[in-house]
Amino acid sequence: MFSWFANPLRFMRLSNWLAPVCYVLAALLIGWGLWQGLWIVPKDEYQGGDIMRVMFVHVPAAWLAMASYMAMAAMSFVWFIWRHEVADIAAKSIAPLGAVWTAICLATGSIWGKPTWGTWWQWDDARMMSVLFMFFLFLGYMALRASMDTRQKAARAGAILAMVGAINVPLIKFSVEMFTSLHQNASVMTADGPKMAAVYLWPLLASALGHTFLFAGLVQTLMRAEIWDRRTAKANAKLMAEG
């Protein structure tokens, strides 16, 4: 299955129509989710009133922060085992986008925290802390790739680091949960709890799905750009060899 996608030409043909489809679906789903979230659904007084509407941007961002790191690690693993170039291009393209959603999650979480807990940064919230470390993992991955002098070395170094990070994520999350459970009062945010009312569930799911489609579309566009870059580099190398 991986080999089928591993051909850059096949990926270019696929993403040529799949990326626009992703963008359209993303626009529809995010638009509907926002309209429902901001105008239609009633506020929840148990969660501080209208401020809970922030979850329609915060929760999708949190979901993508985790999912994108796992996707990057999975692509790194595929590259490490099978050396399919498209997998490396995918991992490289996921990193900056994952960092963007992670940053959105941190920023909105912080702003949500201020009126709810009275503080911009709640050290006792395990999820915020985990996302913060996820952000550092993304930064480290990008910095490491950028400091390698050939794309082959960047691919190898990035894959090693992404996999090391991925097997550490469970341990980091576990330790952070232990750290936070000691200090406090359980988390106020129960937006993803099972008891959430159905009026919130559908708009939230739509938003999360919409963000996922936007992410998928952007990853494909970045991958296309990377493939074009590599073709340019190959052509330039040929031109240099001839000259």
Binding site: A157, L171, V176
Partner: protein, 221 residues
């Protein structure tokens, strides 16, 4: 396969760690300096210092491990020793583990040994707890060195690799820092924290050598 290359790598790294600028004194000086700076920054209230002391020492230990590790594999790629070690036939993971262990022994363990003195300066009561804490610093330091070693191996060919090591290693230091600091409090759950610290150190010892080996083969490529 004979284990002789692994012992030789260990001995060479030990010699290198001792020879590299005043031996273990340099990391000790950094560790003590970083810790002593804190009261100057946050004030000298004995209760405050007693509360933050163990945590400050964890942070200082993490920072000094990063500073010590910066050159351990970079020097090997520059002077060609890495090429020789990768051709001994012994597993690269065992060589990397032996080298990292040697550097912990030369620079990390001494920090744990002087931690009781620094703890006293942070107004801790003189008791057997300080020795127990020293053992915990030693155990946690081992995990710091092994995860830091992964960062050092990955950035072995990078100029100004020190900053990169910090960025790569700090998220990996989180569990050790949390379990370690927790084990020195009397908060609920602190009884099991030393066990979790030991488990996360074992995890580092089991996983990090393979990542270092892969990174070192890349550095030699």
């Amino acid at each position: 396969m004979s284990p002789a290359p692994i012992f030789s790598a260990f001995r060479q790294a030990l010699g290198e760690a001792w020879a590299g600028g005043a031996g273990a004194l340099l990391p000790l000086g950094f560790f003590a300096g970083a810790a002593v700076l804190v009261p100057l920054g946050i004030g000298t209230d004995p209760a405050t210092l007693r509360a933050v002391g163990p945590g400050i020492l964890w942070v200082a230990l993490a920072l000094s491990s990063l500073v010590t590790l910066e050159r351990i594999f970079q020097a090997d790629t520059e002077d060609g020793a890495l090429d020789l070690w990768l051709q001994t036939g012994a597993p690269a993971s065992a060589i990397a583990g032996a080298k990292t262990f040697a550097h912990w022994l030369a620079a990390g363990l001494p920090l744990a040994l002087i931690s009781p003195l620094l703890a006293l300066m942070f107004q801790a009561e003189a008791s057997a707890d300080l020795l127990r804490n020293a053992a915990l610093y030693g155990l946690g330091g081992l995990a710091f060195y092994f995860w830091g070693g992964v960062g050092a191996a990955l950035s072995a060919t990078v100029r100004r690799g020190g900053l990169l090591i910090s960025l790569i290693a700090l998220p990996l230091y989180v569990p050790t820092a949390i379990f370690g600091a927790l084990a020195m409090t009397d908060a609920p759950g602190s009884d099991s924290a030393p066990l979790f610290l030991a488990a996360s150190t074992l995890f580092a010892l089991a996983v990090a050598p393979f990542a270092m080996a892969a990174a070192l083969r890349l550095a030699a490529d």
